[in-house]
Amino acid sequence: MNEDYHVPTSAPLYECEYCGRPFARERFRALHRGLEHASELDDEEVERFRDAYREEEESIGMFRLKALAALVVVYFGLLMIYAVV
């Protein structure tokens, strides 16, 4: 598995203590631990997973709004172009 990863020496690194996978953000490591090693975690790690998950939930909400806006723009944009051409 590890030949699939390449970590630049200057980058901040968060390694999973259970499987050694490297992550670029603390948040990704917390999420990874909760998803892949759920049964092995201590209370603090579980809490960190929950926080990361909640935090992500908020940014997903924002992303959905943007995606919806993009869909509307594409749909009505094409509709208007078809009306003109």
């Binding site: 990863y5 970590v7 490297p22 670029a24 998803l35 992500e56 997903i60 992303f63 959905r64």
Partner: protein, 454 residues
């Protein structure tokens, strides 16, 4: 020009759906009709459809739902499996014998020659469709494999570093041969090609053992195996497993390494190349090179290789960019391998659009000539498809893309811990898919001309 007709059909198919006015043109006619909307708008609509499907897929962020869809499966034992396998193997051997005999001694007219119809209509169109719609039966039917397993194997060591590269070269070579030579019109040439292919294949299979040869080197075996991954049915030793179509494409390690990624990209490129060489744009592009005194066959080869290089480097570039959009330490090679299988759904969609009408139209002729293969006849049964049939072709291109986007979405969720991270990882790949789609749509919106300079 049996095969060229198929390309014209797709052009009409797309036109029929791509514009507002009703299109009642006959699908059998041999020219592409001009677009009534500007080409740029036609292409943008196609590209926008791919982008919009990605945005729609990104609304599904529930891991459990994605897993449930991908893990759903039903298994069933097949009664009389040994008999069925034996019959299929016998049919495969009978098929190749028929192609050789009828190729040399059958009627010279392509449309009434069972060898030509069996290879192009039965095998390349029909069997390929069955491989991605139902399941891969070529692994059993493959007559060369059946024979090779009866022969003694020398079991020479296959160099690991060669990997799938010989099959990449082989696929490009076979498609080149198919485009530049009259393999779809000249039955004895087709028979000679089959004999030559048999010799190479059997020697290779004896030298390295059938499982290595057909697993690594043989291009058709790899094409059918990859098509089979799109299909709902797969064989698991003594029974059949039913899954939702395309779901097997999200699995880990389905495509492993640079060589196998290159094969998927080669398969995607050759479907485009086939149509590209019969456009006026190609005539204009190739003209100066032919004028310089380069032999036309060389120009065709150059275009095949350069186009493949371009498709492939675009994909590799996407994998590199994905590393930064997803903020991951996974190598570009690992990302490229993980997101290559979804492209197979796109390839299947294009294949279906290209060949459905061709297959259904000529299937009666195939049946008729198979019943009496050595009889020369002046007419054969050819079905003409109704006008709405073009919609089926266009729909299959769209379904192929939807499936590819969904499967890539699921693979990203399997790979990345962050849900938004998974969505971001797809940005470069979606951009590349938009480019591939617009290229293919552009090719089929061009007028169809005979292959120039050949």
């Amino acid at each position: 020009m049996l095969r060229r007709r198929a390309v014209a059909v797709v052009a009409l198919a797309v036109l029929a759906v791509g514009r507002a006015t009703a299109h009642g043109g006959s699908l059998a006619q041999d020219i592409r009709e001009p677009l009534t909307i500007p080409t740029w708008l036609f292409l943008s609509t196609g590209g926008a459809a791919v982008g919009a499907s990605f945005l729609l897929a990104s609304f599904v962020t529930d891991r459990e739902l994605i897993d449930a869809i991908h893990d759903w499966r039903r298994g069933a034992a097949v009664p009389g499996r040994r008999v069925a396998v034996g019959l299929l193997r016998a049919a495969g051997i009978a098929g190749v014998a028929l192609v050789v005999v009828v190729g040399y001694f059958g009627p010279t007219d392509a449309r009434s020659n069972a060898a030509i119809l069996l290879v192009w209509v039965g095998w390349w169109a029909g069997l390929s469709m069955s491989a991605y719609l139902l399941g891969n039966s070529w692994s059993v039917l493959n007559p060369w494999r059946t024979v090779a397993e009866l022969l003694p194997a020398l079991d020479l060591r296959y160099p690991d570093r060669l990997g799938a590269w010989p099959s990449v070269v082989g696929l490009l070579a076979l498609v080149y041969l198919e485009v530049v030579s009259p393999l779809a019109e000249n039955a004895s040439l087709l028979a000679t090609t089959v004999v030559a292919y048999s010799a190479v294949t059997l020697i290779g299979a004896v030298a390295f053992g059938p499982s290595t040869w057909f697993g690594q080197v043989d291009p058709p075996a790899r094409v059918f195996r990859y098509y089979g991954r799109v299909a709902p049915l797969s064989s698991d030793g003594d029974g059949l497993t039913l899954r939702l179509p395309g779901m097997a494409l999200s699995e880990r390690r389905l495509v492993d390494g640079r060589d196998e990624v290159a094969f998927v990209l080669a398969l995607l490129w050759v479907t485009t190349f086939d149509g590209f060489v019969s456009t006026p744009a190609w005539r204009g592009l190739a003209g100066p090179f032919v004028g310089l005194g380069i032999p036309p066959l060389g120009v065709y080869l150059l275009a095949l290789l350069l186009g493949f290089g371009l498709f492939w480097s675009l994909y590799v570039l996407a994998a590199r960019l994905s590393r930064s959009t997803a903020e991951t330490f996974l190598t570009p090679a690992a990302l490229a391998a993980r997101f290559a299988p979804p492209l197979l759904a796109i390839v299947a969609g294009y294949h279906f659009a290209h060949y459905l009408d061709y297959f259904l139209g000529l299937a009666p002729a195939l049946g008729q000539t198979l019943a009496a293969p050595l009889t020369a006849r002046s007419t054969v049964l050819v079905l003409s498809m109704p006008g709405w049939f073009g919609g089926v072709a266009m729909a299959s291109i769209i379904v192929g893309h939807l499936l590819a986007i969904w499967v890539a979405h699921a693979a990203a969720y399997d790979l990345f811990p962050g849900r938004l991270q998974a969505i971001r990882s797809q940005y470069p790949f979606i951009a590349v898919m938009v480019v591939y789609t617009m290229t293919s749509l552009w090719v089929i919106s061009q007028p169809d001309i005979p292959l120039p300079y050949l």
